[in-house]
């Protein structure tokens, strides 16, 4: 007996998730249908609702339910500092530090020339418009310390320079609580190159 078409379609659909191959997709589909039908209904509804309700916040470009997300609308945040990150996950990490009170701009990607992702694909002109709203005084670049993150940071710096806002880059080096013995050589070498004068 062949698998019914709707079951096949469900298995195929589940495969779009990261790390889910044909075997796990099949297991998930049978689990949903056999043991957790209400869970399956919830899942279906939640996906549909999220797809419909979520849009990109007009100010930070992150996912939001309204045109302007709660964080961007909050009067407690400092609107003069704008932190640029690659992804929503990066933004969450920055928030966890409790060290940043400003606003964000989420790029939803990075410049990666060899993958065919350039400034145009990234929609950097929206960031330019956002940074030039007259309120933002400093843009903090918190893109990753990979070649792609650096390329993105360089491009944004060149893009924002004529507008007169100050552009800064987060520092890199030995992690907090890091013992030199266990730090990787690349990080240590870069920390050494970017050493700074001690002040008393």
């Amino acid at each position: 007996m062949s698998t019914p078409t709707s079951l096949e379609a469900l298995i195929e659909a589940l495969r779009c998730l990261p790390g889910v191959g044909p075997k796990s997709a099949q297991r998930m589909a049978y689990h949903l249908l056999q043991h957790d039908r209400s869970g399956a209904a919830r899942l279906g509804e939640a996906v549909g609702r999220a797809l419909q309700a979520l849009q990109h916040c007009q100010r930070c470009n992150n996912f939001a339910e309204s045109e302007i997300c709660e964080r961007c609308a909050s009067p407690r945040r400092d609107p003069t500092v704008l932190c640029v990150v690659e992804s929503p996950v990066d933004m969450n990490m920055m928030e966890q530090t409790h060290a940043f009170q400003g606003l964000y701009y989420v790029l939803m990607g990075r410049i990666s020339p060899l993958d065919g992702c350039g400034p145009r694909e990234l929609g950097l002109e929206r960031l330019l418009a956002r940074a030039q709203d007259g309120v933002v005084k400093e843009v903090v670049l918190a893109t990753n310390f990979t070649n792609e993150g650096e390329a993105t940071a360089h491009y944004i710096t060149a893009l924002l320079k004529p507008s007169g806002v100050s552009v800064t880059r987060i520092a890199r080096g030995v992690p907090v609580g890091g013992e030199l013995e266990y730090v990787d050589s690349g990080t240590l070498a870069q920390a050494l190159r970017e050493r700074r004068v001690c002040q008393t």
């Binding site: 990261p18 790390g19 410049i111 020339p113 060899l114 993958d115 065919g116 350039g118 400034p119 145009r120 990979t146 070649n147 650096e150 390329a151 360089h154 491009y155 060149a158 893009l159 320079k161 004529p162 990787d184 050589s185 690349g186 070498a189 870069q190 190159r193």
Partner: protein
């Protein structure tokens, strides 16, 4: 198919692409084996020892084993000494990598080109302003064509006469320089001096640099058979800012 094994092979990563949930496919340029594709298992796991190591433009030593088109990466060690590329230099690095990815066939050793690549990266990294040295790019393009067997004819024209510094030439693909009666006779005409300087890798003359750039661009476009380079597009946008 023969089983391959290599250990502590000097190499650079040209490009990586995610593979499955936690792995990477690494396109590497190695000294003794040329361009190869390696599967780095688990390289994207948060605590992987080689996460963050398989970065382009950094000298590495790689070890691998396996057979077929994609080999398995067994070991990667950071060699150091090369500062991370920044600014414009970074985009230049991408340009070199894109050329190698498009033009260099897999598993063809090019030791001299590898050394050239290493030297240019060192020079690009050494300048903290990240300024591009056009001359370096031209030398690399020339070396690349030479290694691929498309070496340029720069000391005599297609009729076998020595190049005259003050005469005008049109570089015809796969034939070499053709003497022109005047500069306007063909598009992209270059001065004999440019050809001679390019041969001697002397770029002190601004006109040489400008003409060599145009000449190399048309040669690259020819050998890339119409493929447009992403890095060039981005570089152009960057310069228009």
């Amino acid at each position: 198919m023969q089983r391959q094994r290599a250990d502590a092979q000097p190499a650079f990563v040209l490009h990586t692409t995610p593979f499955r949930e936690t792995s990477l496919i690494v396109e590497a340029f190695t000294r003794d084996f040329g361009r190869i594709a390696l599967l780095a298992r688990g390289a994207r796991r948060p605590r992987s020892a080689i996460r963050g190591l398989l970065m382009a433009f950094q000298p590495l030593e790689l070890g691998w084993a396996g057979k077929g088109e994609v080999l398995t990466l067994m070991k990667a060690e950071w060699q150091g000494g090369q500062p991370l590329l920044t600014g414009q230099a970074l985009f230049c690095g991408y340009y070199l990598n894109e050329l190698l990815l498009h033009l260099l066939p897999r598993e063809d050793a090019h030791e001299r080109l590898f050394e050239r690549y290493r030297e240019i990266l060192a020079r690009l990294g050494a300048d903290p302003t990240g300024k591009v040295r056009e001359a370096d790019l031209r030398c690399f393009e020339k070396a690349l064509l030479q290694e691929l067997g498309y070496g340029l004819t720069l000391d005599h024209d297609n009729a076998g006469r020595a190049i005259t510094a003050t005469a005008h030439y049109h570089y015809r693909m796969e034939q070499g320089p053709v003497l022109l009666s005047h500069a306007g006779e063909a598009e992209g005409a270059v001065l004999g001096r440019t050809l001679l300087d390019l041969g001697a890798e002397d770029f002190s003359e601004p006109r040489t640099l400008a003409e060599a750039k145009q000449l190399m661009r048309s040669l690259m476009a020819y050998y890339l058979s119409g493929k447009e380079l992403e890095t060039r597009k981005i570089f152009k946008e960057l310069q228009e800012l």
